[in-house]
Structures are given as structure tokens and as C-alpha cells.
């Protein structure tokens, strides 16, 4: 009960305060802005309702990009983590490159990706996959390496092959770590989608925000941000639920 009640109360309080500050025009006066640049929650809700089909269409596109990009990062990240765990050579060779992949400034590289991959969904997928890859790989690798060496010795005297040790001991040990990485990844995936769509504003919530800000449709831009946040929260919750169902021993 407290799990839900506390964040709901906090959210309601924040929205209420914002409504008071923006609805009366006090916030716009304070910032010395026109009042349409500082939409109140009621105006955002109105924009959300009026543009619901436009927002939904674009949200589907963004969701699709997030799921495909995240899925690619999941497969590649787990694959790399296992390969780097099994081979010391691969681990030493790839570790600096994987850290380097995280330092790539996405905002700068996004337009280059558009030049390389063309307009459309390609550059966005690449950006999402790139930023999701790091937390998944690093956490899964840490999980695989967290196994007690005594447990490995015990399995060896019980005639376990390398693959059996991986499947029966290391992979289950790594699961909680993997889920931590995946939860971080899915939250940043949504940001990645926006960056991708800003660079190639074709469709999706990021592109919509970009267009609305240019056309001073501030309320609808905020509505799109709200949809984006909701999407990230739902995806995170799905992963948290999956973790609870799968990692029952913690």
C-alpha cells in the first residue's frame, strides 16, 4: 500500500503546486515569460486529451524503437558478457573498448549516424542499442564473475563441464546483476530514442517534442514528455516484475 500511496501523494503534491504556480500566471511573471510558454498541468492534460491519437501514434513508434534497440543490446550485451567471461583474452581485449563505447557523446554522434544510416528508424535504433549495451554487458559480466571459486571447484569434482558450470552455477548467479543492468538500460533507452528522433525528426515522441517546441506548442510538448516518462516507468516495472518471478531465491 505504502509502495503506491507515497509516490502518488508526492506526485499529486508536486502537480498541485505547479498548477498553483503556473495556473495563476505567477510562474510566468516570475520568469518574465508569456504564459503559454509555462503551461499548467491542467493545460497539459487538455493537450494530452485533445492530441491523444497523435500522441498515441508517435508513442507506438517510439516504443517500437525502444523495444528493438533494447532487444539488440540485450542479445549483444549478454553474448559479449559470456564471451568475455569464458575467455580472458577477449575480456582484456574488449574491456577498454566497451568502456569507451559509453563515453561517446550521443548528441554529437547522432547527426553522423543519420548521415551514415539515413533518415528513419536506423540511427535511433543504433543510439538506443549503443547506450543500453554498456549497463547490460558490465552488470552481466560482474554477475558471472561473482561466483564463489569454491563452488566452481565443487562442480568440477562433480564432473561438470565448463558449459554445465556456466549453466547451473554462473548464469543463475548472474541473473540479479543482469536484471539491474537491464533496468538501468530500459530507463536510458527512452532518452536514447529522443536523441535519435531529434537528429532525424521524422516521427516518434522525440520528433513531436522537437516540432512542438519550434511551433511554441509547449503544452503538447510537455504532454509528450509525460507519455515518454510513463513508458519508461511501465517498461521498468515489467522488468522488475519479471525479476521477482524469476529470481525467487533472493
Amino acid at each position: 500500500m505504502r509502495r503506491w500511496l507515497l509516490p502518488m501523494l508526492l506526485l499529486a503534491g508536486l502537480i498541485g503546486a505547479w498548477q498553483l504556480a503556473a495556473g495563476t500566471g505567477a510562474l510566468a511573471d516570475l520568469l518574465n515569460l508569456e504564459s503559454f510558454l509555462v503551461p499548467s498541468p491542467a493545460e497539459i492534460a487538455e493537450a494530452l486529451w485533445q492530441s491523444r491519437s497523435l500522441l498515441a501514434d508517435n508513442a507506438w513508434i517510439t516504443l517500437e524503437e525502444v523495444l528493438i534497440g533494447f532487444g539488440c543490446a540485450l542479445v549483444a550485451g549478454v553474448g559479449f558478457a559470456i564471451a568475455m567471461h569464458l575467455s580472458e583474452t577477449l575480456r582484456l581485449a574488449f574491456q577498454p573498448l566497451i568502456i569507451a563505447s559509453q563515453t561517446i557523446p550521443i548528441v554529437v554522434i547522432a547527426p553522423i549516424l543519420v548521415v551514415w544510416l539515413g533518415f528513419g528508424i536506423g540511427p535511433t535504433l543504433a543510439i538506443i542499442a549503443l547506450i543500453c549495451f554498456f549497463p547490460i554487458t558490465v552488470n552481466t559480466l560482474d554477475g558471472l564473475r561473482s561466483v564463489d571459486p569454491e563452488a566452481t571447484k565443487m562442480m568440477r569434482t562433480l564432473d561438470a563441464s565448463r558449459g554445465q558450470i556456466l549453466r547451473r552455477v554462473e548464469a543463475p548467479s548472474a541473473l540479479p546483476y543482469f536484471f539491474s543492468g537491464a533496468k538501468i538500460a530500459v530507463a536510458v533507452a527512452v532518452i536514447g530514442a529522443v536523441f535519435g528522433e531529434l537528429a532525424a525528426p521524422d516521427s516518434g515522441l522525440g520528433a513531436l517534442i522537437f516540432r512542438d517546441m519550434n511551433q511554441l506548442e509547449t503544452a503538447r510538448a510537455f504532454a509528450a514528455v509525460a507519455v515518454l516518462s510513463a513508458m519508461a516507468i511501465v517498461l521498468f516495472a515489467i522488468l522488475a516484475l519479471a525479476e521477482r518471478r524469476i529470481v525467487t531465491w533472493r
Partner: protein, 278 residues
């Protein structure tokens, strides 16, 4: 936490022992160590050590902390290669050959929390490619024999310390290896549970004899459970003295350890330990 079942009930179960399942052939398991040396880089842990143990013999290894007892156990089990000398386990000299003849029970039970008690105990069968159902049936027979009936489906976290250690021992036993390498198996238990487990293990080895090398800090445990005890010196480890333990070891533990003959051997073991201390 569940209570351990009481000892007398289990002692009766040993009396009605059933034959070992077909997939556990009892192979000859004599152990011969000749002029063994081992070092980690510059640090010499074991020097010119000789040891013999007949099939189904139970040998205790006691010695000061850090003297290389656990290293010796890992060498015997084929988890490490000696720096010099030779170890032969059931006719196997190579590390992989020894690994095939030894099952190793670590100090902590290391039960896998994502598997039930019975699936933990059946790990060796599963590793050999036996299907889950068949592996569970085979392990289930031993659960009944060793006083664990009713706990097959329990998660390790639901078991008491003593029961976890029993499941860990069954896991070692089910591997069907002729030689068991036990590294301080009861060190983490409280005194009462440890005494219960010692009597339990003595009973288990009576019905299911194996060649056993038992590393322990506890001289009383070694003398009660083993036919002979090798007292090791401080690093680099050599054998100070090899003592024969007084028979009978399968009787009541309290009677066994208060027997005057037992106390006399315990005192000579203590003297040997002090002699080998740094």
C-alpha cells in the same frame, strides 16, 4: 528454521540400508602419495610428504592453521597439480584422472539457492546427463536412508545448518566417487549439531564405505571419525606423526570420546601438534 530429526531414528535407518543404485559402481580407491612437494611461487606449502591409505580407509588430517591441509586436499582431488612428487588415487596419477575419482566437499555447504534440496544433491547425476526425473528418483532413495525424507522439495534457505550439511554430504556421496575429500565439513556448525553430524557421518560411512580424507581442526572429530590421523607440521607441511584411532568409531559418540584409550590417543595427538607447531 526446522529442527534436525533426532539421532536414534536415523541410527535405525542405517540398519536397514539398501544396496547402492546401479549407477554408483564402487571402484577401488586406494591413495598413495610419494615425495609430494607443492609451492605457490617462492612459498613452499608442502615438502617431501608420503602417505598411504587403503580402500575404504578414513584418514584425518590435522595441523596448525595455514599449514597446507586444504592445499593437500585439493592436490589429492585433482584440483591442483603438485610441484614435485606423485599422487595416485585409485590408479590414476593425472589431475583429470584424480578429479574423476574424487568428490570434494567444501567447508561451506555451497548449496545452490535456486535449486531444491534434492536437485542440489543430484547435481553430479545431472552433470552426467541423467534426466531430472531419473536423477531425483535416485537421490530420493538416499534422502530416505539419510534422514532427509520430506525435505526433498525444500529450498536450502529453509533448512537448518545441520540439514544443509547433510544435503551437501549427499551431493558428494551421490557422485559415486571412490574417494571423498572433506574440507572441515562441520566447522561452521554449533557444538551440539556438530556432535550429531559426526555420529551421523560415522553411520553413513558404515553403511556406505568410501575412502575418505577429512581435513579438520578438531582432534576429537578426527579421532572419532577416522581409522587413522596424520598430524601435519606448520608450513611447509610434513607428517609429524600418524596415529591409529581407537576402535570402535561407530558406537555412541559420547561414550567413544570419554573412553580412557581415546583420551590417551588424543593427548599424544596434541603433543604431536605442539611438536610440529612453528
Amino acid at each position: 528454521m526446522r529442527q534436525d530429526t533426532k539421532m536414534p531414528a536415523e541410527a535405525e535407518q542405517f540398519a536397514g540400508a539398501v544396496a547402492m543404485p546401479a549407477s554408483m559402481p564402487v571402484v577401488e580407491g586406494q591413495l598413495t602419495i610419494r615425495d609430494l612437494g607443492h609451492s605457490y611461487g617462492e612459498l613452499s606449502t608442502i615438502e617431501s610428504l608420503d602417505l598411504d591409505l587403503a580402500t575404504h580407509g578414513v584418514l584425518g588430517l590435522v595441523g596448525p592453521s595455514g599449514c597446507g591441509k586444504s592445499t593437500l586436499l585439493e592436490l589429492i582431488a585433482g584440483l591442483q597439480e603438485p610441484t614435485s612428487g606423485e599422487i595416485e588415487v585409485g590408479g590414476q596419477v593425472s589431475a583429470s584422472g584424480r578429479l574423476g575419482h574424487c568428490a570434494f566437499m567444501p567447508q561451506r555447504d555451497l548449496l545452490l539457492p535456486w535449486l531444491s534440496a534434492i536437485d542440489n544433491s543430484a547435481l553430479a547425476l545431472r552433470n552426467r546427463g541423467i534426466r531430472r526425473g531419473a536423477a531425483r528418483r535416485e537421490a530420493g532413495l538416499l534422502f530416505e536412508r539419510f534422514g532427509l525424507a520430506g525435505f526433498e522439495r525444500s529450498a536450502p534457505a529453509e533448512l537448518s545448518g545441520g540439514m544443509r550439511q547433510r544435503v551437501a554430504f549427499l551431493r558428494t556421496l551421490i557422485a559415486g566417487k571412490p574417494v571423498l575429500a572433506l574440507d572441515e565439513p562441520f566447522a561452521s556448525l554449533d557444538a551440539i549439531t556438530r556432535a550429531e553430524m559426526q555420529q551421523w557421518l560415522a553411520g553413513a560411512l558404515e553403511t556406505d564405505p568410501r575412502t575418505v580424507v577429512l581435513v579438520t581442526h578438531d582432534i576429537e572429530e578426527a579421532l572419532y571419525l577416522c581409522d587413522s590421523v596424520a598430524v601435519l607440521s606448520a608450513r611447509p607441511a610434513r607428517i609429524v606423526e600418524r596415529l591409529s584411532a581407537p576402535a570402535p568409531r561407530y558406537g555412541n559418540r559420547d561414550e567413544a570420546v570419554t573412553d580412557p584409550e581415546f583420551i590417551a590417543v588424543r593427548e599424544s595427538a596434541m603433543r604431536a601438534l605442539k611438536e610440529g607447531a612453528p
